[in-house]
Amino acid sequence: MSGPVLILGATSGMARAVARSFAEAGHPIQLAARDINRLDDDADDLRTRYGVDVTLHAFDALATDTHAAFVEGLDLPQIAICAVGAMGDQDQSAADPLGAAMVIRSNFEGPASILAHLANAMEARGSGTLVGISSVAGDRGRASNYVYGSAKAGFTAFLSGLRNRLARKGVHVVTVLPGFVRTAMTDGMDLPGPLTADPEEVGTAILKAVEKQKNIIYTRPIWRVVMAVIRNIPEPIFKKTSL
């Protein structure tokens, strides 16, 4: 089975790695992003390395009123992976509610909207896989990034509900919870080595999760343990920590 794979938010470092993993496995790739001019070299890379067909699609996650038409205009993919998201700056988000709204819209509203449209189309067809890249930041709100985290928490819950709804309709939903990943998003941050994945690792993990129909994956797997601990710290103690 090597049907087409749609990658939403394709300009990110993680999306590039995910595209490579699926192209290497022989899937044709549909790359979607706001500025498709930025995707030309990446498309050439996938064609040159793996000899797969690559198409480019203009897509604005925040323009939710265009999503229905976007999905209709698409050769409906076998697998759709949403890598849309923006970390934003927590201090700015805390100080400026409008900025916070943008972070919430790009991490929750936009991704949820496009996956909802894709879910309906796949449900009608009776097959498909949806992959949402959320974040461990959504597992518990922390002072350092709770605006981003809360949006991801919403997205994680959305994916969980979608999976539940579609479980008997032939459509599978994978929730991906990356911890730290070395990408442009984390440039300049001091990341702890053992907890930090390369984008390639995430790409491989997502390919495997899709092939094995996993529900929820953490990359790296150690994050499952780390977050279990963090989730279970009693609130009276948690509120005084700075994690």
């Binding site: 470092g13 930025r38 070299d41 050439d44 890379d45 040159t48 390395r49 442009a184 440039d187």
Partner: protein, 433 residues
């Protein structure tokens, strides 16, 4: 800030690392501060270190087109990626160094050489053009007819940032090498064998520089790409498997570099090779990249890291020079596990390392004793009209580098073109390039 080193992990320096993922990123970095571009960090010393700004190019790793053996790719693509992509289609790099983990940009900047230098030249001979970003952020496509091409190939990233290049690959029938091993017992015998086998595409010798009974013993490894009809029938000729890497998890204690141990190691290696002398089929990965099978083998040398000494000697003085170098190394008993001897063909470019003659490469643990020994080796090399490989260098004094008149010419060219302030590494500062 990141604590960064070359492959030898000596010296280490706190560097500000900036990652480039696009041409625009490189332009912004050049505008921001002086820098040196860094590929996959396989240069041994401080050639890709700049404390103010080291520009990590591994994020620019796109392959842009491939047609009939001609590849256009960004500078951060690794040679190993090229092999994994195109060897199954019957193409192999024209020239490859001893590791497949070098980036395309790094291979060009160091003008790396391989076991086929005597016939096919250095990496330069497969490079059609280079897109180079200059100090003002503009991009120039330099070709062999441009003077800048000759300064850039072998120029250690000091002429600008290499963004992408077009290279030619060679067509092969199989992923296998037909290898002949000869066990030889002296330097002269080894040199004679090199001369006699000039028409064999690949040749390299491992030579014992210790002070034991095996001093001067060598294994000469000759190779050529095997034809499909030479393989056993069950082998798929172009099958390329991704091999796992054995990790070297911690630094080995320094005492293993004392003479006795080394003598024993080299002796065992030679006897084993001698026993297996003859012709055999070897997988491309084991033939070209035996050390790549050990992830982080550089850690074998322990916490303090190691330094490599690699010099080239002209044909006329090679025999005498090698003898003196090897005798000096043996007498010093600091030990060198890997001593590699190789025939070089003609010279090319303005600053490339190879010259017609021989090159000798050795590893030493980074300590005062080896550093002192290397100063002596510098002088022996210079006395025989030789020169040094900047990709391996971590410690040469400026005067030694400047004994090569090309170094002064390079520095002058850089100054005149306004490159000196913009593109600098710890190495270029140390050597006054």
């Amino acid at each position: 800030m990141t604590r960064l080193g070359g492959w030898g992990r000596f010296p280490l320096a706190e560097c500000k690392v900036v990652t480039a993922r696009s041409e625009a990123d490189v332009r912004a970095a050049i505008k921001a501060a002086p820098l040196i571009a860094r590929g996959n960090g396989r240069a041994y010393g401080d050639a890709a270190l700049n404390t103010g700004q080291t520009l990590d190019m591994t994020g620019m790793d796109r392959m842009l087109s491939f047609d009939g053996g001609v590849l256009v790719a960004e500078a951060g693509v690794l040679l190993g990626d090229i092999i994994h992509t195109f060897l199954p289609r019957g193409w192999f790099p024209w020239v490859t160094p001893g590791t497949k983990y070098v980036s395309l940009g790094g291979a060009i900047a160091a003008d790396v050489h391989g076991k086929n230098h005597h016939l096919d030249g250095s990496f330069r001979s497969c490079v059609d053009w280079i897109d180079l970003m200059g100090p003002d952020g503009s991009v120039t496509r330099v070709t062999p007819s441009d003077d800048l091409y000759d300064w850039t190939i072998g120029g250690m990233g000091l002429t600008g940032v290499i963004l992408r290049a077009q290279i030619r690959l060679r067509q092969v029938e199989t992923a296998w090498i037909s290898q002949e091993t000869r066990a030889l017992t002296s330097v002269q015998e080894t040199l004679d064998a090199f001369e006699e086998t000039q028409d064999v595409p690949y040749s390299v010798a491992w030579i014992d520089c210790s002070d034991g009974p095996h001093h001067g013993h060598s294994l000469l490894l000759l190779g050529r790409h095997a034809r499909a009809d030479e393989l056993p029938e069950h082998r798929r000729p172009l099958e390329v498997r991704r091999k796992g890497k054995l990790p070297v998890p911690f630094g080995a204690p320094p005492f293993i570099f004392r003479g006795l141990w080394l003598r024993a190691m080299n002796g065992i290696y030679w006897r084993r090779g001698a026993k297996r002398a003859g012709t055999s089929l070897v997988n491309w990965d084991s033939y070209f990249y035996p050390l790549d099978a050990l992830a982080n083998w550089n850690r074998l040398y322990g916490r303090n890291g190691f330094v490599q000494f690699q010099c080239a000697l002209p044909e006329e003085t090679a025999a005498a020079g090698l003898k003196e170098l090897m005798d000096t190394i043996a007498a010093a008993q600091t030990g060198s596990v890997l001593s590699v001897l190789k025939r070089f063909g003609p010279q090319s470019g303005h600053v490339s390392f190879p010259m017609p003659g021989y090159t000798l490469a050795l590893d030493f643990p980074a300590n005062e004793r080896s550093l002192a020994l290397m100063q002596t080796l510098d002088q022996i090399t210079l006395a025989h009209g030789g020169r040094f490989y900047l990709a391996k260098d971590a410690r040469m004094p400026e005067a030694v580098a400047k004994a090569d008149p090309r170094a002064e010419a390079f520095a002058a060219m850089r100054k005149q073109a306004g490159l000196t302030e913009k593109f600098t590494s710890l190495q270029s500062e140390r050597l006054g390039l």
